[in-house]
Amino acid sequence: MKALVVDDSRVMRMLLSQMLKEVGFSDVAQAQHGREGLTHLTGNPDVQLALVDWNMPEMSGIEMVEAVRKESSLNATKLMMVTTESELSQVERALTLGANEYVMKPFTKDVITDKLRLLGFNL
């Protein structure tokens, strides 16, 4: 199973990648902003999950969600927003634009496992 972590903080990317690997993703790539994430997804349609941060330079998370959803080839890719309480009010907007799920940080492995199961991942 392949996943992508999109976050501008290197530490967050490392943390999230480690977590995803621990819950069962064999191949986790990283991107440091929305545009890079989008490029990676278009080049790798077999990536099943992308964890997307909110505030990033170049292209924000919400812009990335919008852009990914315009690509029909990426219909199957699950997008999960990684958010903080200060962005909660916008989660609805992200979901409307095509994000599949959100998770509020900091979160534990259990929380994300539950959410991923809801999305249909067999963990």
Partner: protein
Amino acid sequence: MDTNPEIIKEFLIDCYENLDRLDSELVALEQDPGNASRLASAFRTAHTIKGAAGFLAFGKLEKITHVGENLLSKMRDGKLVLNQDVTNGLLRMIDAVREIAEYVEAHGCEPSTDYGAVVTLLRTLDEETSAPPPAQAEATPAVDAPVAVAAPPTPVPAPVAVAQVAEVPPLDHLFVADPADAGRSDADSPNNKKQAVSDTALRVDVDLLDKLMTLVGELVLARNQILQLTSEQADSGLASATQRLNLVTSDLQEGVMKTRMQPIGNIWSKFPRVVRDVATQCGKQVRIEMEGKETDLDKTIIEAIKDPLTHIVRNAVDHGVEDPAIRTQRGKAAEGVLRLRAFHEGGQINIEIADDGAGIDPEKIRATAVRRGVITQEQAARMSDHEAIRLVFAPGFSTAETVTNISGRGVGMDVVKTNIEKIGGQVDIQSRVGEGTTLKIKIPLTLAIIPALIITSADGARYAIPQVNLLELVRLEAEAAASAIERIKGAQFYRLRGNLLPLVHLHRALELQSYQGEGDHAINIVVLKADNRQFGLVVDRINDTEEIVVKPLGKQLKGVSVFAGATIMGDGTVALILDVLGLAQRSSVLGESRTRNQADQALETAGADTAKQTLLLFRAGSHERLAIPLSQVARLEEFPAEMVERSGGLDVVQYRNDILPLVAMWGDRSDRTGTSRQAIVFDHKDAHVALVVDQIIDIVNETVVVQKKLARRGVLGSAVIQQKVTELVDVSEVLAAADRQMTGQAA
């Protein structure tokens, strides 16, 4: 989830970088509180720290950054305007975070310190300045809009952690590489998918780079050996292969050196905050300007100059720039400007720190230096203004009338100078009263491989002298040597273009045995510069200049100040690298400007009887007015009565680990039970002799015409000085009298 120590390390590196950036952003925002992209960037920085801290279960960090983030988010949304209180609060947050991060780095966990005060302070600021309580900050539907549009934060690279090594500017471009390009390479290499898209740049352990540098050093040595061997061979194939090896090695050396380079901006980025803090504390207004942030320096050097530079910057704000009121009064802008400039020149890095403050008054410096006993009155009078200003580098010298808690930290400019010289750099100061002060620092690009002059000492051993210390080479043929070298009181001087150059014989300084007698063969003088003074090093042979790889000396030899390190020569033998400053100090050609000046003057006075002389006027015994050429005086002393001891019918004092005889040439009228005895001290036969006087009257600069009529004991003759008849002392007779007394004592 188990936290990988690697991640914590990354987090800390990131954290420090983010804090530095936040520091500069806040200071910049203070000038321009409405700058939306800066606000967004500052917010994002705090947000980043908070996010990761939460995952790593650093509760205190998370809490502190959380309240800070709230404040920043309000400012970003225009609900709160940055003022000094808010800035101070946020800076305190940064300090707290830095403190915690440092603790985590050292102990692996958060400290037990209570940071409640900072949190409360930030909360209060938040509540005070905005109607809705912080919990409702989330009710801001349009939050992402300005953020999303916000371009990458200022010129600073995206918060993509870049470790010490990877901070070289071009990396930003790599990171933010053309997305199309990144996509293509990914598609082209399906096996490579695991590779993160952003990983076009690597972080490399500094230790590994150090090791690479050492290996390159070894390679350079091997190359030098091969070059030397093939120069004796005629095989053209071998010659061209060697040539290639030579070129590749040079390129490799340059490449590896580049990996160790960091822009000086890395340390400068802290200065806006330093300047702001110091300025606020002293009630001053100072703006900092930087030019040449991107100038690259070797990592070791960057680290070595960090503290000295910080000290200079603090000093400039604290002592250099005047209070706004005074500035306005003097017709300057209330806000002072501190200008930092860095640039490459002549294979060295130049750093200038200039303020437009009050400048340094050479007269004040002279007065302070004399008062503190750093120099004598006479030396002060002889000094040029520039030399006087340079006295701020003298050990224990501080010109601030009040020692503040900002600069008065026990670190003087002498430490700054020592630290810069330790890495082969030089520091100079220029100042104009009322216009400001500029400190100029020159440092080598790297410490690992340096150009050097190879010389041979009298015993045949080779030594390397760093090129930075080298001024010129002089060769004197045997006859010339005999006449051009002057001997003054056991020391040798060579008159180079009119200036007396003290000579140091390498084999003597190193206490090596000399094979040949001196004077009957040609002399090679290497003119060197140390501590802004020149001296000549007499060596047996000058070999060549060469790029040498500096190897540190073993622990056992660390204490030997005349050697800076060792290197391996082309033929495989080891040569020691001379520490020019240490050598000069050991041979006492430095810091003893008296020796030089005195010798200089002795020659001058001998040559021109009627020329102007500086004379010391005093009264002694039955003589009301006596004069001695100041050049012959080593120093003036005043000995408290209890210091004077009686030994073998002679008055003596213990003086500089020696016994100093007090000669009373014309009887002694001073009250023996009095408080103190004034004395003029002369250098005599590697020791000192003191002439007891009643009173020092004056120091004058006059043209003296000696009339030899009135000659009496110990007196050369008399002259009219300051319209009064004054007797000139025959110093040689004073010294002879001392000798007689001493031998009389011995007998």
